[in-house]
């Protein structure tokens, strides 16, 4: 995490709303992507993004180490999204196993360019766990140890799961290689 971000977090922890506003702008892309990949619906993702940042602001004083902000925010985002997924599954009366492994048919924002749509459609074919892993691992500000902490699994397991997820993703995208590289 950069020094500027660390200063922003410290200021926000003291109640500076403008600093938190900058943090929100900087992390919206990450939180939104995580929410979109976990729920498969961009309207829900927008709502969950809002909810995550609101929870973050309300709980910010409990954050002990400013440097841990990205992981802390990722944990809030993940839990918020998991709650939403569980609530939706209960409504649809889907079994847990089915819900975790079931593929999504994502609704994506109209502003996404075609290659991003291809990527998101491919990611949506992974399991819920792999969708989270792919998103968390590619977020530059999280180490694999931090990802492990967010996911509540050992760091070694993160690497194994990530390798499998990437291989699976490559297999899916191979069919659309021309569209993607062209």
């Amino acid at each position: 995490m950069s020094e500027t971000t660390s200063r922003l977090v410290q200021a926000a922890m003291k109640g500076n709303r403008d600093s938190y506003g900058i943090l929100v702008r900087n992390y919206t892309g990450f939180v939104y992507s995580l929410a979109l990949r976990m729920t498969g619906d961009h309207h829900t993702a927008e709502d969950l993004c809002q909810e995550t940042f609101l929870k973050g602001w309300l709980k910010l004083k409990k954050l002990e180490e400013p440097a841990a902000f990205p992981g802390w925010l990722a944990t809030i985002a993940r839990r918020t999204c998991l709650n939403a997924v569980e609530k939706r599954n209960r409504k649809m009366e889907i079994g847990e196993e089915e819900a975790l492994l079931g593929n999504l048919n994502p609704t994506l924002p109209a502003s996404y360019d075609p290659s991003r749509v291809i990527l998101e459609e491919a990611v949506a074919q992974l399991s819920l766990r792999d969708r989270q892993l792919i998103t968390l691992c590619y977020f530059q500000e999280l180490s694999s140890e931090e990802v492990a902490e967010v996911m509540d699994i050992p760091a070694g397991t993160v690497r194994v799961y990530l390798h499998r997820a990437r291989t699976q993703l490559k297999e899916i995208l191979k069919e659309r290689e021309n569209e993607l590289l062209g």
């Binding site: 709303r17 938190y20 506003g21 929100v24 702008r25 900087n26 992390y27 919206t28 892309g29 990450f30 939104y32 992507s33 995580l34 961009h42 927008e46 993004c49 809002q50 940042f53 609101l54 602001w57 924002p109 109209a110 502003s111 996404y112 290659s115 991003r116 990527l119 998101e120 792919i134 998103t135 691992c137 590619y138 977020f139 530059q140 390798h163 990437r166 993703l169 490559k170 995208l173 191979k174 290689e177 993607l180 590289l181």
Partner: protein
């Protein structure tokens, strides 16, 4: 996250996945709306209204005590003319009464005007 191969497709996937979670990767036009500021409790207005009400009550009690309550004609006591007399008969004690009435009215308006009518409140 390091690339997991030299394959062109793998590189492309890596780049796209990294940019999909970076700053500005959210859909265009989407902004997190920051929560509204918690409204400050209007302590000053409350104190103003309460003290005005106390002064009014005191003056009203004082004034009532001076009235001949046995044969009182309520229609004339609470008439519009009587209210206007409060302002027209400004003497030594009348000034206080008139001020109390104005303060009371102003306080009541300030306390009960909704936030949306703030410009009107400033005009008053």
């Amino acid at each position: 996250m390091n690339s997991w191969g030299n394959d062109l497709l793998e590189e492309k996937i890596d780049t796209m996945l990294a940019s999909s979670v970076s700053r500005g990767s959210e859909p265009s036009g989407f902004r997190v709306k920051f929560m509204p500021r918690r409204p400050v409790f209007p302590w000053l207005t409350v104190v103003f209204v309460l003290s005005t009400a106390l002064i009014l009550a005191f003056l009203m009690a004082y004034w009532l005590q001076k009235q001949d309550l046995t044969g009182i004609d309520y229609s004339s006591v609470f008439s519009v003319e009587r209210v206007f007399n409060l302002f027209s008969e400004i003497g030594s004690g009348g000034i206080i009464s008139a001020l109390a009435v104005i303060l009371g009215l102003g306080g009541a308006i300030m306390a009960f005007l909704p936030e949306k009518k703030r410009p009107l409140r400033h005009m008053l």
